[in-house]
Amino acid sequence: MCSIKTMAQKVLVAMSGGVDSSVAAFLLKEQGYEVVGAHMKLWDYVEVGADIYNDGRCCTIDSITDCRMVCDAIDAPFYVLNMSRHFRDTVIEDFITEYDRGRTPNPCIQCNSNVKWTEFLKKAEELGCDYIATGHYSFIEQGENSRYYIRKGVDGTRDQSYVLWGVSQQALSKTLMPLGGMLKSEVREVARKYKLRTAEKAESREICFVVDNDYRRFLVEMAEKNEKSYESGDIIHTDGTVLGQHKGTAFYTIGQRKGLGISHPTPLYVQKLDVDNNKVIVGDNDTLFRSELEADSLNWIAIDQPNEPFEADVKIRYLHEPSRAIVTPIYDDNSNVGRNPRGSDSNMPGSNSNVGRNPRGSDSDVQGRRPRLPEESPSKVHIKFIDSQRAITPGQSVVFYNGDILLGGGLIIE
């Protein structure tokens, strides 16, 4: 852990209003850093709809007040940074587009790559800070190959490394995660002992801007704002029979059982979303198991981009036990040229097309945008699991570990 630093190095702490980032700020202050707290304002209720009085999450006034009071208690300046425009143009846009394309996105990954470890880092630089810090339960270390990497923290139950695979080397080199060596219970203990007002605050969970956890409601409202609507179509069985009607492919996820609105003698699960033909394909649980997948939008953390197949512990969703698999790089002559894994030809700077290509990384912006030669970087990986996995879902991240060490990750294509 990066705990030994010379005095008065300055760090901008990303504060959500929760206990973790509060304690992170507190500990850094104790360690002698000059701490500046900042809360990223990413969205507002007018924009995202739903219950305006739902609080206890980030981006609400009460959370901001909590950050402010914690910073006052530790004698650190505090700012609210308005990143809502950037968040909307990257994370929210991508979220909608991905669902429209029949994929299931994880917006936290987009936010980390495109907002937290880019825009927030830029703000830190503007403020003359040497580092940014977060309340993740992980370690950032430097390997013998001089690459910075993320290692799961002591508290395995709080491991969030799954959503960190898109962070660039340059960004990691400027990041402190002071909670790596602590258990959640210890973090709360510190907060209580030093009377930080967030000590007893509940965990935030789910997708922050979908405040009621109803992503379908969110998609419908956003579509209405853009004068779009979702088209209904057939729900068909893998055997070809039409079983009913769906309300739009965006409202379904691979592996989903509930809410299909069809009666059938055996339980049915969503197998595939066929956006081109506007069909939702359902079938038995057995047919949801696959042992192979392909992923793109890759980013490498602990290792240089691989040229040879390697074995790793592979995770295909946030709550998934890593499973052993062979990861094989695929070199595709055309695939890097002007392709955008998420299909939205966003022209925003730093937008999703950079994800996983070392956004703003050590390879620099310029290189990140130009097509790489095939021998320089695999554009895709093929993954073969030893044991087959249930409901491999396009759009979700596939993340490679070697034990506790995060090697890299990408987005599942199929």
């Binding site: 700012y79 609210v80 940074l81 703000k123 403020l127 700077p349």
Partner: protein, 387 residues
């Protein structure tokens, strides 16, 4: 590092003389002005003396002046009180495009929830509205026009008499939000020709939480609050006597020092603008030197974000503002500069320096000395500026 406060348009420190005038009404003369006994009488007398004093300053009859909790409440009384009264007869409202949110948001509420038609009166690149534009928007259905006297972000002073002349002898009421004008330039409701006017104490060295609303005699608006006969039932609630005494004292001092303050601040602002625009390239004054309350200097630093400049200056002990702050403390893009049609790359780098009675040339020289460093550093990092 001596902190330098250049955010007087947000709020000001209370003048010690004002504090002194208020103290008796927080301590010994604490009575409720509605009480029949001696304590009540003392409070009531102070209340009515203050009303008279303020009425004299803005040239209205004391009976036309109602005490409120400040600018936001007064502005809401203007918009919502008028709307409630006239909704069945006339449901069209015209508000300035560069108004404070205390006008814009109640107007939006009326539009979304009560079917009112809201038109925005445009402003030109200097932040000023033209009578011709107002004329084209006015209809027989218009119940209210609200145009700010001096703008909080740019300090630009609207030609209120020219605008209000158009509603004279019509059924349309004319309101002006004079929160940023009162005490800085002469505010005379007769010369302005307005029916309704909002003012507050805390922008001119008075306490927060006290303001007043002028309603020209003969006009009846529905109140926002119910529950007592205070302020002739137009604003029920136990009167904030100490605040009201403070407001009167604040305005009295402002009136006495107006010419002196104006001259000093005009000279300082001119000096500041000329130095900053000479020392740093690509800096623009939003608004003009003329027609401006001199306290307010709104400068755009092209190619960088106001928010970043604000934070950079804060870390150097200089307090300024950018855009208008929302509750969260995040800065929002300025609707005022947008309404003025200012290019986005320029308007997003806007900073409001608002000076006050205590501002010295030394203070400004310090800001002038640190500003280039802050701006240049940000510009070096700005892909937009370097294009």
């Amino acid at each position: 590092m001596k902190p330098i406060y250049l955010d007087h348009n947000a709020t000001t420190p209370v003048d010690p003389e004002v504090v002194e005038a208020m103290i008796p009404y927080l301590t010994g003369k604490f009575g409720n002005a509605s009480s029949a006994h001696n304590y009540g009488r003392d409070a009531k007398v102070a209340l009515e003396n203050s009303r008279e004093q303020i009425a004299g300053i803005i040239n209205c009859d004391p009976s036309e002046l109602y005490f409120t909790s400040g600018g936001t409440e007064s502005d809401n009384m203007a918009v919502l009180g008028t709307a409630a009264k006239f909704k069945d007869k006339r449901n069209h409202i015209i508000v300035g495009a560069a108004e404070h949110h205390a006008i814009l948001e109640p107007a939006e509420f009326l539009e979304h929830k009560h079917g009112f038609k809201i038109d925005l009166l445009p402003v030109n690149s200097e932040g000023l509205s033209s009578p011709e534009d107002l004329k084209t928007l006015l209809t027989d259905n218009t119940c209210l026009v609200s145009v700010m006297h001096a703008n909080n972000e740019t300090g630009m002073i609207q030609d209120i008499p020219a605008l209000s002349a158009l509603t004279k002898d019509t059924k349309t009421l004319f309101h002006t939000d004079a929160v940023q004008a009162i005490g800085k330039i002469p505010v005379d409701v007769k010369k302005l020709g307005v029916d309704l006017l909002s003012l507050t104490a805390h922008k001119i060295y008075g306490p927060k939480g006290i303001g007043a609303f002028f309603i020209r005699s003969g006009i009846k608006l529905d109140p926002l609050f119910y529950g007592g006969s205070h302020e002739k039932k137009r604003r029920p609630g136990t009167e904030n006597v100490a605040g009201i005494v403070g407001l009167a004292k604040t305005l009295e001092i402002a009136q006495q020092k107006m010419d002196e303050d104006y001259k000093k601040l005009y000279d300082l602002s001119e000096y500041f603008i000329s130095r900053v625009t000479a020392d740093i390239p690509d800096v623009y004054l939003n608004g003009t030197l003329k027609n401006r309350v001199p306290q307010t200097v709104n400068l755009s630093f092209k190619g960088i974000e106001g928010e970043s400049i604000l934070l950079g200056l804060d870390l150097k002990g200089v307090a300024v503002s950018s855009g208008s702050a929302c509750t969260s403390g995040a800065t929002e893009p300025s609707h005022v500069l947008q309404a003025m049609g200012i290019d986005k790359v320029v308007s997003q780098g806007a900073i409001r320096f608002s000076m006050g009675r205590s501002t010295t040339k030394d203070d400004l020289d310090y800001v002038i000395s640190v500003l280039p460093e802050v701006v240049n550093r940000l510009r070096e990092m700005s892909p937009i500026y370097n294009q």
